[in-house]
Symmetry: D2
Subunit: 354 residues, 4 copies
Amino acid sequence: MPAKEKTAKIGVLGASGYTGAELVRLLLRHPRADIVLLTADRRAGKSMADVFAQFSPYALPTLTLIDGADWKALGLDVAFCALPHGTTQKVIKDLMARAARTKVIDLSADFRLADPAAYARWYGHDHFAPELQKSAVYGLTEIYRAKVKTARLVANPGCYTTCAELALIPLLKSKAIDPDEIVIDAKSGMTGAGRAAKEEMLFSEVSEGIHAYGVGHHRHMAELDQEFSLAAGRNVVVTFTPHLVPMNRGILSTIYVRGLKASPQDLHALLLKSYSKELFVHVLPFGATPQTRHVRGSNMTFMGVVADRISGRAIIVSALDNLTKGASGQAVQNMNVMLGFPETMGLEQVALFP
Amino acid sequence: MPAKEKTAKIGVLGASGYTGAELVRLLLRHPRADIVLLTADRRAGKSMADVFAQFSPYALPTLTLIDGADWKALGLDVAFCALPHGTTQKVIKDLMARAARTKVIDLSADFRLADPAAYARWYGHDHFAPELQKSAVYGLTEIYRAKVKTARLVANPGCYTTCAELALIPLLKSKAIDPDEIVIDAKSGMTGAGRAAKEEMLFSEVSEGIHAYGVGHHRHMAELDQEFSLAAGRNVVVTFTPHLVPMNRGILSTIYVRGLKASPQDLHALLLKSYSKELFVHVLPFGATPQTRHVRGSNMTFMGVVADRISGRAIIVSALDNLTKGASGQAVQNMNVMLGFPETMGLEQVALFP
Amino acid sequence: MPAKEKTAKIGVLGASGYTGAELVRLLLRHPRADIVLLTADRRAGKSMADVFAQFSPYALPTLTLIDGADWKALGLDVAFCALPHGTTQKVIKDLMARAARTKVIDLSADFRLADPAAYARWYGHDHFAPELQKSAVYGLTEIYRAKVKTARLVANPGCYTTCAELALIPLLKSKAIDPDEIVIDAKSGMTGAGRAAKEEMLFSEVSEGIHAYGVGHHRHMAELDQEFSLAAGRNVVVTFTPHLVPMNRGILSTIYVRGLKASPQDLHALLLKSYSKELFVHVLPFGATPQTRHVRGSNMTFMGVVADRISGRAIIVSALDNLTKGASGQAVQNMNVMLGFPETMGLEQVALFP
Amino acid sequence: MPAKEKTAKIGVLGASGYTGAELVRLLLRHPRADIVLLTADRRAGKSMADVFAQFSPYALPTLTLIDGADWKALGLDVAFCALPHGTTQKVIKDLMARAARTKVIDLSADFRLADPAAYARWYGHDHFAPELQKSAVYGLTEIYRAKVKTARLVANPGCYTTCAELALIPLLKSKAIDPDEIVIDAKSGMTGAGRAAKEEMLFSEVSEGIHAYGVGHHRHMAELDQEFSLAAGRNVVVTFTPHLVPMNRGILSTIYVRGLKASPQDLHALLLKSYSKELFVHVLPFGATPQTRHVRGSNMTFMGVVADRISGRAIIVSALDNLTKGASGQAVQNMNVMLGFPETMGLEQVALFP
């Protein structure tokens, strides 16, 4: 591979999971990123090729324990955290205290909720780093770009939430839809469930079929509530049902909304205008709807608006790749913003279809 | 295979499609069915094994043209029609005129709409057999069993419609839910699109992804409107969005409803009671939801009810195999009712999972 | 479901795995089988519906521990053992000592190797029940039917081995092919790997790709060596490479052989003759080859023979469903033979395609 | 997307098929490629986004007819031909006559066979451009790099052939294996069959199963014969069986060989040495074998060597993405060589897994 003009020293904490691997995939082609640290507690001592064979041809740091990391000496420009929920808070607190100039992008849910009470309610315990929780910036780049630019800690949004929020926040902000009448029926690929060995995620358990899960209660609801309420300027609670689809990547959100004086065409025009200058959000012509396969492996969100046959109602369909724009791609996008790089750098990859 | 006590002479018109093959699969194990006629216009002269290799070990009639069939001489007890839309009407009209004792079960959409005006509106032309249209019985067995029993022509319901109607008709009849606030988000396997060679149904076009189609306008809506309006005793129009999922068989309908004085628990109790004696509808415990793979290849419908976190709203999930209960299985169930056989005969097959 | 003429009392040991579930699926439709015992050590106390939701509508015994079973009092006619390797030997030894009239069909590999030395070499320890090992009958029904008839303990063959042995044993017995020039390239669906939660069997690890495993060394080789050597009347060692394919069920063996004076057409004629009266082995016309999907869920083996373009060589392709003819279906077939039932009873199910 | 230093004017003939789309995917990220022409006869007048929605966000030329193209005026540096067999010869002949400086990379099979007699035998008619056939360079880059560099017409190799040839040519050249004892059992994803609407390629026909096809006779054999004979310096005919696997992309070739004085370890060492400086061929450690998913979307070939348990025999497994290294990726690699660009330019993409 050709030499890269390297400037940013990057660490990936939790490199043996799917979002970790996706970060490495993207960063390997980023012309200004230099991966100097990869941690994976249960695989420490192994090579990245041992846990993800696709990296066999590339030179990458050996996987190490987090515990031994000397954050100060490492001098990371950016640390991506792709760790399981809970541990994250302590690791980040420690890292940020020791390495004053390292910026952190956290891909877990740990810093997404700004309200300590909401956090405690949804996660069953008080936050372990409440001061950091306050200062963390919610990294939905298109919406919070200015804040991300100056943030030291970015809470990268969830995959379901990115998909639905990009479609709905502009409409709620404009008061174009009724905040009490939103139904989000979401369908996700299997990588969204992570790489932990669970019976219910075996190939034979989840191929050739579809099912809903977390019906009526799913932690991503807390994130939706926060962002939709902020956008609407009032309390918003939506109906949200996630499903598992026999595919690796992709989220499709079919969203049922009702216009407030706004026709479906108005909603479409609003989205088109909101994202006219955005390179990672593509609004399809009115009446067209997206397929997840057409954004696979890219950082794109495709969305479409259709008029329901019931007057005043519209159906919005939003699609992204849960590992890219729904996780690691948006994390790299945030890194670019935080470091002053061109926002699309390393993210130009066109979707892999078929 | 062991000898069968054969009594009913059966013809399958359109045996080279998926619903045709599913009829043959089920009827081969039906102890009182004797397949004496298989038609397939484009494959006439071939053996069933030529078009579906799984039938290689079985003795079956050679595929023939419909045109040459001498309906009177054949003396069929039951003719299953699995023909494409349009041709069906003329074929059935002719067959029923010539063979006075043959009963017909039509798996197309041709006789499902009782209202000639609705038919013309949705299909763009007047019905070719309006008198038959009037006398046809809508074959949603659990709901119309008494009428099916004495029918000469049964219009077998669609797959999407069977799945949603079994869940909603008891609730609408009881006025337990608001008929103006129903959203049906349906997900179907690929066999629902039939066996015609279309680019958009190639493996590489539809695997590894999900998408909505027919958003805002799908012909199954006409059938839903008819049955829901009948059940509610007033005009009902629902929001309905179908999706294609990379799996062969199965429909999952995620249905968003609002109770009228009825809690989600009440809705569950109502469904449980409605289907307590039904062998092909299984209501899961409150809070549980079904997976399509658990009904694969069986004639079962599994359904579950969950309380939404928004008070007064419930989420109902209904699952069936689109080729079995959603088409050919229900057709055999109707045949059993029409001929006075035990209703489950030939349909005892347990779902194939994994 | 209609009442069954029940005669045989059946126990399934290890009902929470895939072969266990497949046994239950088949036995529920077997007119002379009555399931009275289901064990599953890690799930004891649960219902079968808890571990396999497709059984929700059926009345089945609660899952119990093996330890508490009073084999004598239970008075089983047949015990199917679908337990992991190793434990099996002790359980069966104990069961057979206590319940003098219970016949045992073991689906593990524990009793397949007749030679204690071969067992020790492949499994790394001496057999725990060497006397039983000697008396066990290898249950490849079509080949050992007479012995199975009078056996008390049947060692049900492996899935890969059944698929390859049915194709090759008649040819080796007739000395029609060179025993030193056999290459078996086998492809299996994912259920062959069982239901244990392993990272490498997660959907996202094994979908959308194919790979070989156990290359050069796989335990099924021991079984192939034994049976091929017996058939050839001399020592036979074959090349065998298994692969994992992103599908639930099915094994396809592509077998490369060289005729000894026998042309590919001769080999085909030999197979056709060998299986002319067999109901579960179907030899396709010369030049045609099978697809696994056409035997899915059935107890059929389909096989075909093609001439290689290199003179004197032939390619044989054999296909079966690893859970049915490759495991539980053949186990039920053996039960039928052992109990004097018609051999196809409960196994008449036609393949589920599509 | 960032501005690109554009130097080469590129045309893609046949852009509406899968190899056409893959070319566009790769070229969009190639820093020195400028797509100025896209043809697609049946879709002329449409946008690329109309036929492949993943390209919606990108500015690309409208699809045009080949017939109207003014090859001289266009002044293409490189024309990629991804047309169906047959038409290709006439189109290229015409193009090369009119546009003296345009280089052509043909992805069809039309110019791969150097011997006119072999061509006529396999394709049933004389070649339409026999002079060009003589001058065409077979574009297996790693083997023919020097010739590719100066070629005006490159015949890009087939997917099956690239996969097997990269593994075997170095061994045949070194006379390390017996040329008469090669068995290639190949497994391909569905995109290898192209985008034509055929019943046998529908999702429901090919998912959830595996089958062999073209057994004993497949056109890729002609290409294998030519290259293996050239490498061995004598006539070589191999046994080759292709299979279809339910995945979009990937070819896995399991190759059975016998060493001539060379041990399996020697074969491995030979491959390792042959490809030590190659960036797109990665030889795994001895005993390890590749998975197709680990090269998905990349231009990599992964290969491994294992000792068979039969002494003197080895099993080589080779994996690539049929659309990338097996078609469009290698075509871009050839373009880079022909135009003097760095060979990996635009092909640095890491495999997309999971």
